[in-house]
């Protein structure tokens, strides 16, 4: 059996009296693409927000690479290897494409204030190597033609792509993506699928929320379905597609 990159145990969260997630157990295997689907308000993004540290769960635990990360701050979790994108694109709009990627390399920073102010050799060397890495990453993600454009000037599909590139810049072991195909046309969606496949085959595990069922079924090797804060079904796509509860709650007849 391959190792678990992410493990969620008995996770619950309440907002006031509302139980948004109720005793959720979920496992993502290393090296796979894991899909998370469910109707609106099922708690998918809430689950993402808990694993990336934005919310603290009421009870339960989250493990990354078999180490507990429950309740860590978002920046700590990012440094430990979970990188995310957002449901509504959250790029640093006034910054260039290159700078967006450079910001995400912050965690690999070894220089201190003194190095920066005196522009030491160490600083120059690190800045140069960062730039090279960022350029490579932009080439990899097909965004290199926009390198000096401001992030907000990119077409919608490429903004999504940049968000993924920025997440990759943190050098994650798990990439969590929230509705990347929302608002995309056919061509953009199929490009996205190939892109995610490529990232996955290069060694990054992916957890993805998506409403485009066809994309999920084609992309993922394992699918979890959430409804009203509970997991109602999980398994390989073919099995999930045929599950009665899932059809009733989400897919429709």
């Amino acid at each position: 059996m391959s190792k678990n990159i992410l493990e969620i145990k008995n996770l619950s969260i309440m907002f006031g009296g509302i139980v948004a997630l109720d005793d959720v157990n979920m496992v993502t295997k290393k090296g796979t693409i894991h899909g998370l689907i469910g109707p609106n308000g099922a708690g998918k993004t809430t689950l993402f927000n808990i694993m990336t540290g934005i919310y603290k769960p009421t009870s339960g635990n989250v493990y990354l690479n078999e180490k507990e990360i429950t309740g860590f701050t978002p920046n700590k979790i990012a440094n430990l290897g979970i990188a995310r994108t957002f449901q509504n694109i959250r790029l640093f709009n006034s910054m260039s494409v290159l700078e967006n990627v450079l910001v995400a390399m912050h965690n690999s920073m070894n220089v201190n204030l003194i190095d920066i102010i005196f522009k030491t050799k160490k600083f120059k060397k690190e800045e140069k190597s960062k730039r090279e890495k960022a350029e490579k990453l932009l080439e990899y993600t097909g965004l290199v033609k926009y390198i000096n454009n401001s992030a907000s000037s990119l077409p919608y599909g490429d903004q999504r792509r940049l968000e993924i590139a920025r997440a990759l810049a943190t050098n994650p072991s798990l990439l969590v993506i929230d509705e990347p195909a929302a608002g995309m046309n056919h061509k953009e969606t199929s490009d996205l699928k190939n892109f995610l496949d490529k990232i996955n085959s290069d060694g990054t595990s992916i957890l993805i929320i998506e409403h485009d069922v066809k994309l999920i079924m084609n992309l993922c090797s394992f699918v979890t379905v959430l409804d009203f804060g509970k997991i109602i079904c999980e398994g390989v796509p073919e099995m999930v597609k045929q599950n009665k509860q899932v059809i009733e709650a989400y897919l429709g007849a």
């Binding site: 006034s94 700078e99 910001v103 390399m105 102010i117 960062k130």
Partner: protein, 350 residues
Amino acid sequence: MISKILPFHKKLKFIHGLFLVIIALTLLPFVIEESFGRSWLRIFDYTLIYVLLALGLNIVVGFAGLLDLGYIAFFAVGAYSWAILASPQFDIHLSFLVILPISFFIAGFFGVLLGAPTLRLRGDYLAIVTLGFGEIIRIFLNNLDHPVNVTNGPVGINMIDPVMIGTFSFNNKIVIFGIQLTNLHFYYYLLVICVILVIIICQRLENSSIGRAWVAIREDEVAAEAMGINTRNVKLLAFAMGASFGGVSGAIFSSFQGFVSPESFILIESIMVLCMVVLGGMGHIYGVVLGAFILVILPEIIRSVAAPIQESIFGVVLIDPESLRMILFGLALILVMLYRPTGLWNKKNV
């Protein structure tokens, strides 16, 4: 071969340019004094003090996007640090080479003091708390004459030492080649050096991972944190850096004036510095310098020409120059907000 010659050629050009700038900056005070008079040189010195302040606030507001309405408090902390450490108040007379770093660090410490409790606040809420902080510092200075007399209360501290280099005091006058050099000249040179240093530091910070982290926080704090940026440390650093520059500026202000009192650090001063940053171009170093120049010098020009112009046109002074100054100032701000909402000289307009 060519690649080896070219950088040398460029370097030569750079040195050439640098040389010209240095000469221009050296001669500037004499030009101002000759053509406009001594009082304008004094105004110019004050402008440079405000440039330092605006550059400091630009780190907090412009780079990191933290709206700070109490910034003048750090100016006050710097000013009183100098006033206490170099005056007959406690009969301590330290050298400026000691006091400048001290006020730098004390103001920076106060910056962290303000930053720490306000880390979770944003926008309007942060503005209100910082405004309160600014007032607290001023009221403290106003009342710290008892039980132990530290600040001399509303009266302020008098007879503050000028900058001393060895035994040479900045209040001395010297004559070189028939040209008289006074304290206005000496402070001008000191301030120009400080401004240049601060500009260099700001530029280097801006083009580093720290500067990028500041802008990322300004743009989207949640996303910045999700990308692994320790927003707490980075924000505290912005507060500390901004405050330290304000502190240095305050220290020089204090020795330049020879006198400090709490009424120099009222709320409107914070607003003025903020206006310089916003009007000039938030986050753009040279824009901010321009903003400071405009907001200090323009009102002075209006003040000096408003009365004579009115007299020559109407025969009498209809609106007194002081209120006209505020009217025009308000008008200018409205116009900038309407037609140049990102500031007069913003990065993108270049």
